[in-house]
């Protein structure tokens, strides 16, 4: 296990990040209603991962079994319930989703009823898996999106965060997807200053073209200052939280929790980010999860500033919140 230079520190870091999660005392916490359950997320890989990334906001690793793999039958139960609710799209994350042996069957079930997106580190996407994914995608009228996390366009940059050798292995997965006819979305957690975004996008485009990805799709995601990222860079500042005043004239459709929920092996949580917080579990069923959620967590501040960053088509520019709210409304 040479790929990980963080592992020695892991026990200490885990102790710190898994300790009771404290938030500053905020008065008059605003609440966000669930307007419509458009995006249903699945913590299908639990918190179990074959990498040990230094910025992981839920500290996933081969050893973190806080959340387990979701079996096909559990996912199917939520899919069936989602039809009556009118869910628009399905997302799968972990941990590493492809460590879950049911993953291909789960995608087959999902794409029979709607579009699916998988957030993966790409490492397990060998040629055979890419081919199976192709067959599943071609058998559906709906889009299958593969989002591959790579955190720098060079091995040096990426491996600092994701572990030694992880760049080459992820790029192999991307190549297998491209060769199978996919246009994977490369997602990249922003660990640099915003001014460098353009240069980073250009760097990615050049690197990806070299492996035959002629029209690469790249998405930059702002950092969530929690989990291991708290140690890697910094936690949230005391002032970084959402207040009632900030919600005046704000289009709350930009928040993830107003249009999505996260299904896990332990029940339904408010959003993909807050699953480490027991109070973020809102119900056992989707229909039970239609209740307002207090925006008391500092991660809510990132969502407020940057828009619902987990969605496929959301930007990291922070400009969305300045947009007119006149068109929104569910």
């Amino acid at each position: 296990m040479s790929f990980n230079s963080f592992k020695d520190q892991e026990t200490d870091i885990l102790m710190e990040t898994m300790a009771p999660l404290r938030e500053p005392e905020i008065e008059n916490v605003p609440s966000a209603p669930l307007h419509a359950l458009d995006s249903l997320w699945f913590q299908v890989g639990g918190t179990i991962c074959n990498l040990w990334c230094s910025h992981c906001f839920i500290s996933c690793s081969p050893k973190n079994h806080n959340f387990g793999f979701m079996p096909r039958a559990t996912v199917k139960r939520y899919l069936d319930e989602s039809k009556g609710i009118g869910v628009k799209e399905y997302y799968f994350t972990g941990g590493e989703p492809f460590m879950n042996r049911d993953m291909l069957d789960i995608l087959q079930d999902t794409l029979a009823i709607g579009p699916a997106t998988v957030l993966t580190n790409g490492i397990l996407i060998v040629e055979r898996v890419a081919q199976q994914l192709k067959n599943i995608a071609e058998g559906s009228i709906f889009s299958l999106e593969l989002r591959v996390s790579i955190d720098g366009f060079t091995a040096t940059e990426n491996d600092k965060i994701r572990g030694k050798g992880s760049f080459d292995r992820a790029m192999k997965g991307v190549k297998n997807l491209v060769d199978a006819g996919f246009l994977p979305i490369i997602t990249c957690a922003q660990t640099w200053e915003e001014e460098q975004n353009e240069a980073t996008l250009a760097g990615f485009a050049a690197t990806l073209k070299k492996i035959g990805y002629a029209r690469p799709r790249v998405k930059i995601i702002p950092p969530l200052r929690m989990g291991r990222e708290k140690v890697r860079s910094r936690g949230y500042d005391q002032f970084e939280y959402v207040t009632e005043e900030m919600m005046w004239d704000f289009d709350d459709n930009l928040l993830q929790c107003t249009h999505s929920r996260m299904a896990t092996d332990k029940g339904v949580y408010v959003c993909p980010i807050l699953i480490d917080y027991p109070e973020a579990k809102v119900a056992e069923t989707l229909s039970g999860s239609f209740k307002p959620f207090p925006l008391q967590h500092q991660a809510c501040y990132t969502c407020y500033i940057s828009g619902a960053i987990c969605h496929n088509f959301s930007g990291a520019s922070g400009s969305q919140k300045e947009k007119s709210a006149s068109l929104a409304g569910v």
């Binding site: 009118g86 009823i113 889009s143 353009e198 959301s314 007119s324 068109l327």
Partner: protein, 269 residues
């Protein structure tokens, strides 16, 4: 004839089209083509402006032909003097090009046309062949929502239909046409746009005709127009080469990041 009520003539064939994008040449061609096919009523689903030339040339065509228009995000922005088109793009590359065409359209639209756009309704409803028809821009719940064929499940549409009590919903906004049948002869259709071709390597654009043949159905109609003239005029107005390439080749060159994978992979860029 005085004092005698004339029966209201109910349309037999209705043309429905989206996204003019200042393409007045396509609009002229559409009106002629649809009339030749027996269309007696026209509806536009919004987004009058964008990357074509001379925005004001669209206005008299709409008035003279009594075309009813649903307000698109573009029309809401132009009418209310907003800073951007509210297209709903999230990628900086998409927004860069969207801003160029928005700034051009805003600068070249006369105040009367802007005021007219501000007052447009966000949805239009009517009965046709016993069916409740709802016209909107993006979706019945949100003007700038993208409803793509590959990301819109049937059960999601069923929820929209039941909430809005409609049998037929027609929308645009994405630029690509598609249709999905639901139970009880209900259906959703995205009518596409007449402002730019469909990202399929052909230079024609598309509109639709709603008609009654025993049951109400929709037909997608390919439309040829003077695209080379449009491209020349765009060039004279100094529009970016990327926009002109789209008109001349039928492949989308900009605002691509918003496309889901199935739609994106069919294109060239």
């Amino acid at each position: 004839m005085s004092g005698e009520l004339q029966p209201v003539k109910r349309p037999e064939k209705i043309a429905v089209f989206g996204g003019v994008y200042n393409n007045y040449l396509a609009l002229e061609a559409l009106i002629a083509d649809a009339k030749s096919k027996g269309v007696d009523k026209f509806y536009c689903l919004g987004d009058l402006g964008a990357f074509g030339p001379f925005p004001d040339k669209v206005f008299p065509l709409l008035l003279d032909n009594e075309i009813q228009v649903v307000q698109g995000n573009y029309d809401n922005s132009i009418g209310n003097g907003l800073d951007d088109c509210q297209c709903g793009y999230t990628d900086p590359r998409d927004n860069y090009f969207a801003q160029i065409s928005y700034d051009y359209t805003f600068k070249n639209t006369n105040p009367e046309f802007k005021r007219w756009q501000r007052e447009l309704p966000t949805e239009i409803r009517f009965e046709f062949g016993g069916k409740q028809v709802l016209l909107c821009h993006g979706s019945p719940r949100q003007t700038n929502e993208f409803l793509w064929e590959s990301t819109t499940p049937k059960h999601f549409l069923e929820k929209l239909f039941s909430k809005n009590r409609a049998d037929i919903v027609l929308a645009t906004h994405t630029g690509l046409r598609w249709k999905r049948e639901l139970a009880e002869e209900k259906f959703f259709a995205n009518v596409g746009v007449i402002g730019r071709p469909e990202n399929d390597g052909a230079t024609n654009v598309w509109y639709s005709i709603l008609k009654k043949n025993g049951r109400v159905d929709i037909e997608f109609v390919p439309l040829e127009y003077e695209y080379e003239r449009l491209a020349a005029e765009m060039k004279s107005e100094k529009m970016p080469a990327e926009f002109i390439t789209t008109i001349l080749t039928g492949w989308w060159t900009t605002c691509l990041e918003i496309l889901p994978s199935k739609e994106r992979v069919r294109g060239k860029f």
